[in-house]
């Protein structure tokens, strides 16, 4: 494949013009309006937090009930759980609001995070494959998660949760189409 590439490069080199690129005139990713996740997705987030804290509360309750030494200090674990619960809810709300995605002509963007905001951008011609996940609860709410894999390792994979099922299917088709197109193009080269 590489020599084939080299040849095409050679032919290109003959009528090769190297104009300076105005980097300021390039499309700017930061100006793209990101689409937010489906509001229903926040219910799933809340549900997950609820489960974790329910388990914690049960554990603490058992501890207080069965161990008599700590019974008089019952307010310590309770206060701790309530405090962390409040923080979790606060952070989950912020992080939900920060999450957003956009599909441009040549790449996909995903923004997330609460304390630090991370924007990750994957060009379509570097996508390896796409997966669509549906959890039990998200299926009930008609939601799905799209996961986009690259060869750059786990940390460069993007997982976009809280998409409408139909929308997710469409996105998957779009991405698969782009990936296949890429393959075809390179093969034809």
């Amino acid at each position: 494949m590489d020599t084939v590439k080299d040849e095409s490069n050679n032919s290109e080199r003959n009528n090769y013009i190297n104009n300076p690129i105005d980097t300021l005139a390039l499309p700017q990713f930061e100006e793209v309006q990101l689409s937010p996740l489906q509001p229903a997705y926040y219910k799933i987030v809340l549900f997950n937090i609820g489960i974790v804290y329910l388990l914690l509360a049960i554990g603490a309750g058992c501890g207080i009930y069965f161990i008599s030494e700590i019974q008089s200090y019952w307010y310590v674990p309770v206060a701790f759980i309530v405090f962390t619960l409040c923080i979790s809810l606060f952070i989950s709300r912020i992080s939900f609001k920060n999450k957003g995605f956009a599909f441009r002509t040549h790449d996909v963007m995903y923004r997330s995070g609460a304390i630090a905001i991370t924007t990750i951008i994957i060009p379509y011609n570097r996508v390896q494959h796409v997966a669509l996940h549906e959890g039990f609860l998200s299926r009930k709410l008609g939601l799905a998660t799209i996961e986009i894999f690259t060869a750059g390792g786990d940390s460069s994979d993007v997982k976009i949760p809280g998409l409408e099922k139909e929308h997710a299917e469409k996105i998957k088709k779009l991405l698969v189409g782009k990936v296949l197109n890429q393959d075809k193009e390179t093969n034809e080269d």
Partner: protein, 501 residues
């Protein structure tokens, strides 16, 4: 010199020895607790039974080794373009590797293999690393021929023009050879931090053990305490530091020479063939198109001696579902300036030039100071004042630590730079060992930008470039500039016609 690989064939017959030692090793490893018990009770055991038993076990292992050898065959299936291996005594298995999936073929030699004059051939495939295939005993000629065939056929599917080219340039010629002198230089100048930390930990434990021992022997007053006056303490510390330095140098020297002895780099068709090692010889192939990132690193001493380390990261993990960590980078130690230039030119196709420079923000220093000075100091004094007052005895070391860390932070900040031009991204980093990472934009897989909310006002942030051979992170730096760069890199990746591998 075409050798026919289309018929199933066995390994070299002497390979039975390798199988035998392998099986023996495996058995000993799995049964060592029982063996240990026997060794300790050797007097109680009947010598005759012991002898018979050992002989029986060795015979059994020999038979197993022979059966392993007998049942192990390999051949090239030209029709399906697969390399097929059959193995197993009771559980037979047949492993077929499509030739175009073969990433690397390594020829290695362990001590035993060296003794009986055979080589091991390792076939490395893209994707799942669980089915890597090793032929354990094969003659050198056969190994090289097979290796050539395996890699050649892999390329055949991609291009045909290679063969014509390949036959003319088939001659192997070592074009770089790392001399023992360079290795000596590398050995005494590299890896200070790691060896130092190791030895320091070692010395501290020894020192504590001595104190414990003295405590246990029950002297009324600690003799150490008695003799310790400033001069003795100074001498002691001086001696320890000297000992650590000498030991560090020795350990590094030995390690480097053992690992990289007789380092030869040969150009073969369109790839580089590396072979090195004193006890175990390693052979690796590097193909420029698979190279994702190249790092050139050297410290002050190495600069003066004109040597540098080159680290090469190749695309390794095609199957992203595979959670196994990446293979380590391939290292070429002790290259001089000229050799480095030749290698870099070969690996990156042209000499990278430094483009527009980007400096990190001064806030980077603040973050480092908080992380490595303020937080440790606060923790130290918190512990010391609340509970463990004996920690104050170690307060002597605090100024030392402070000076050391502060200089490190200063130099790390001063050396941290990002150079960008249209063809390369070069990141310079490090306090003592200064590394230069070279990355071509078309190798980028994904880009991410990260900003903490308290950095928003200062307009600074971090950028991470993901490649198939690792990541490159630069920050904290001017966020607006970084965004521009990201836009530019995305433009480059999305319009390039070059493949990332």
């Amino acid at each position: 010199m075409k050798i026919d690989f289309s018929q199933p064939q066995r390994q070299s017959l002497v390979g039975v020895v390798v199988m035998f030692t392998d099986t023996l090793q495996g058995t000993v490893r799995s049964l060592w607790p029982i063996l240990l018990v026997w060794v300790f009770r050797i007097d109680e055991v009947n010598k005759l039974y012991l002898g018979l038993g050992t002989a029986g076990v060795i015979l059994l292992l020999g038979v197993i080794a022979y059966l392993k050898y007998y049942n192990f065959t390999f051949f090239l299936d030209e029709e399906n373009e697969e390399f097929v291996i059959r193995k197993g005594i009771l559980n037979k298995s047949r492993i077929a590797i499509p030739l175009d999936k073969i990433q690397q073929v390594n020829i290695n030699q362990s001590v035993i293999q060296k003794l009986i004059g055979v080589h091991a051939l390792e076939v490395d495939t893209a994707g799942s690393s669980k089915k890597e295939v090793t032929i354990k005993a094969i003659t050198h000629d056969l190994a090289t021929a097979l290796k050539e065939r395996l890699l050649e056929s892999g390329k055949n599917t991609e291009t045909n023009s290679f063969n014509e080219e390949g036959t003319t340039t088939k001659k192997e010629y070592p074009f770089i050879q790392i001399s023992l002198l360079s290795l000596l230089k590398t050995g005494i100048t590299s890896n200070y931090a790691r060896s130092f930390a190791l030895l320091f930990a070692f010395v501290i434990t020894v020192y504590q053990n001595i104190e414990d021992y003295i405590d246990a022997t029950g002297y009324e007053s600690d003799p150490l305490q008695e003799y310790i006056n400033p001069t003795v303490l100074l001498q002691f510390v001086g001696f320890i530091i000297l000992a650590i330095i000498v030991l560090t140098l020795l350990v590094n020297l030995l390690r480097t020479i053992l690992k990289y002895f007789n380092y030869r780099i040969t150009q073969q068709q369109n790839s580089l063939l590396l072979s090195y090692g004193l006890l175990t010889t390693r052979n690796t192939i590097i193909r420029p198109e698979r190279v994702q990132m190249v790092t050139v690193g050297r410290n002050y001493f190495q600069k003066k001696m004109d040597i540098q380390d080159i680290k090469i990261r190749q695309a390794s993990n095609l199957d992203t579902n595979n959670k196994e960590h990446r293979k380590q980078a391939i290292e070429i130690p002790g290259c001089n300036e000229k050799e480095k230039d030749v290698l870099i030119k070969f690996l990156l196709e042209k000499m990278p030039e430094r483009g527009v420079m980007l400096k990190p923000s001064i806030r980077k220093v603040i973050v480092q100071v908080v992380k490595f000075l303020i937080v440790p100091f606060v923790i130290f004094f918190l512990f010391a004042s609340v509970r463990f007052t004996e920690l104050y005895d170690y307060a002597v070391f605090l100024p030392l630590y402070f000076v050391f860390v502060a200089t490190m932070i200063y130099f790390a900040y001063r050396n941290s730079r990002l150079f960008v031009n249209s063809e390369f991204i070069i990141k310079q980093s490090g306090a003592w060992d200064i590394d230069n990472d070279f990355l071509a934009p078309h190798k980028i897989q994904a880009v991410s930008l990260k900003q903490y909310f308290w950095h928003k006002k200062a307009d600074i942030g971090k950028v991470t470039l993901y490649t198939a051979g690792g990541t490159l992170t630069f920050g904290l730096a001017d966020y607006t500039r970084l965004k521009q760069l990201v836009n530019y890199w995305l433009y480059q990746v999305e319009t390039t016609d070059k493949n990332w591998m």
